[in-house]
Symmetry: C2
Subunit: 472 residues, 2 copies
Amino acid sequence: MKYHSAIIGAGSAGLTVAIGLAGLGKQVVVIEKNHVGGDCTNVGCIPSKLLIHLANDAKDLTTSEIFARVRAKRDELRDEEDHWLKSQENIKFIKGEAKFIANDSLNVITETETITIKAENIIIASGSSPIIIPIKGLPIERTLTNENLFDLENLPKHIAIVGAGVIGCEMAFAFNKLGSEVSLIDLAPRILAPLEPEVAELILNRLESLGVKVYTAAKGKFYDQSSNNLVLDSNGNDITLEKVDKVLLAIGRRPNLDLDLEKAGIEYDRRGIPTNKVHETNMENIYAIGDVDYEPSSAFTHSANAQGRRLAQKLAFPYLPIGREPTYPSAVFTSPEVAQVGLTLAKLKQKYHEKLIKTERFELAKTDRAFTQDLKEGFILIHALRLTGRIVSATIVAPNASEMIPILSYAVNNKVSMYKLSDLVFPYPSLSEGMKKAADSFKFATLANLKNELGVYLRYRLAQAKNEELSG
Amino acid sequence: MKYHSAIIGAGSAGLTVAIGLAGLGKQVVVIEKNHVGGDCTNVGCIPSKLLIHLANDAKDLTTSEIFARVRAKRDELRDEEDHWLKSQENIKFIKGEAKFIANDSLNVITETETITIKAENIIIASGSSPIIIPIKGLPIERTLTNENLFDLENLPKHIAIVGAGVIGCEMAFAFNKLGSEVSLIDLAPRILAPLEPEVAELILNRLESLGVKVYTAAKGKFYDQSSNNLVLDSNGNDITLEKVDKVLLAIGRRPNLDLDLEKAGIEYDRRGIPTNKVHETNMENIYAIGDVDYEPSSAFTHSANAQGRRLAQKLAFPYLPIGREPTYPSAVFTSPEVAQVGLTLAKLKQKYHEKLIKTERFELAKTDRAFTQDLKEGFILIHALRLTGRIVSATIVAPNASEMIPILSYAVNNKVSMYKLSDLVFPYPSLSEGMKKAADSFKFATLANLKNELGVYLRYRLAQAKNEELSG
């Protein structure tokens, strides 16, 4: 029997395709090496957000009880997903490791046997794993990654987190709240490198005001097992962190490519598998979505999910057109939260002449909602194209930024302008009103200076159009 | 000297017009009987949201300290607004009571004199006051309205709130949290009459689970000063509430019309002053905005504000077109919050044939964010037109509903469809994802049943178009 589709990986990306295709009557096989639900359910978003929530709200639980609760809730969800998946018609589930043997077939190595599978389409949704750069002297039992972090039974007294990206910063807040001493270390000169510098500045201040020690432009040099000291190298100088009982490595992720891709002729490099606009690899009928895809924009649960939906549609209805891939929002569950959609200003400047970009920043503290909530920090940052006011990217730093970003995500994806945003009425009092104030500021500044704005726009926009013509 | 505009009332509506016009160089006079900032700053949104916030978060303060803090913060904001207004160029501020003497002139009665003012335009933004229906035997010192509520020095042991509308419900949660025994009474058969019945049901359950006693289809009959008992009349039966020390009347608002409107020939009735699409009364160059306007949609700070902006534009740039008045969202700061935009289903059915409306309700508990936050209740309710999927109204019940509604407010005001909403990617995990799930449900149900949906749409939509033609 030849399946309609074989899906490698039962995480957010793979499950979405599987469910979509099975629902349309296609026979699919899903192969998963570890647990159903993938990283998100098992060692990612779900346990980390449970931990963050309980760290903040479960004042009646001990830290050990909190860790146990995180695992219990996580397992509950996992079992539910597992049970649900295995009861689906049209989905065959195999727990095992997939290896390509040709461009339409896989071997699946299970605990007891090797099964050969043939499918018209193969979807690689094998996800990613934490990058591990060993620190000299650091024993394995003191090393954490997201994969064993949630197995902790007791709170570390002092946790060093290597990598001040999204996971590193989220966990720095959570462990600080739980009561650990937290040291946060990054090789880069600033934390949260993929986000706007204004975000990094605010989150850094927040972390430091909570007592987290942050070391940028630094890396782990060695760990002394007799004293439990972790020594960092910061521009050639040693910094000693005393009595570190656990080191969490949150340096980054690498795609899971150990699938004998060569046997199917699939091109890839260490960043992942390149794909075209419909998620197809260089080989016809072989697709890659989610973390294993080359594009960093795919590395969220919601984007993996969105790609899964797109691909299910493409495979089930090959003659229906499939739109441009959207610009995905992202959210960071620090305190306050950060949400972003579109490129940072630095990257926007590679796309548009910098004179074409007009940035509005509005401090949330100036809203009446912040006044009534005693909220002193946070902002809304919007980058728009000059004159036309088209919103091209936005960042929110606020207690519920993840719930506030959808309107700006809609704006970026649907070319909504600052004028249109300025016309929208927001409920009073709300922090979201800050968006309107940012849009008002753009509108009034532009209208007051229309002739000049028009001149600048024509000069740089036309120049750019010409460049695009020459280069394309 | 004849002013460009005379504005009666320095609340949200009046101040917005004043600031807008003054900024454009027009000479305006603002007349205010009480405090700058109007009800919102002084006895409305600001102190009530301060109280709600402090009731929930200021665990280190006594209740008397909380009331004092509310007043101090409120006064801080009032003083700021007051100082700011009085320092504005082009704005003359007069504290006093305005009375029309002709259709272009007012007398302003101040503490020391009566000033006659002439203006090309007169804007009535005099706001509203609480409706007071006296309860037999209830002494004045035990009677509260929003106007003296925030003057409380000590927490009532038992507060009876008459009127289970927005203010009544918000204050029921706040005083319950502060530690009062709370009884909530309404004449109507359900609480929160202007909102969807599903909202009333959830909020009622929440109130009762917190220990608030709710009496619907009931009214205050008499108060016995010797025992401090409040006796209610419920369908002819007496219900005795024991030892009630304060009674908050939150029955509704009446427009402030004591302005000798007849002398200018302005039409009005007890519901307010009717206006046309550009907020003009029956008299040319006399406008009415905010709570004093006839339309209940004007009775929010944000809608008063929006009307102020529209009117400032109309008066400053009379030849520019002014768009249709938007559909305003509303927010209720109960726990959880409620936010709504557009008509309730009951009212939608007066506008569209009920077969044309398709309702999607998504329980937030089914989102992964709710799972990680241990959130058990709340929902997203969207009414859309069948087939086309045009979103016509929506309600959210969630901890931060007021920050989540903007995307749905945009949708209702810009004819965004469920298909479009289904295409939007939301950050994971978020409660807002529930909107996408609601939209997905609509989309899949419609696509699976397209022929039937098309038939129903054509049948009822065409019938309606025909009716509209006949009637209009």
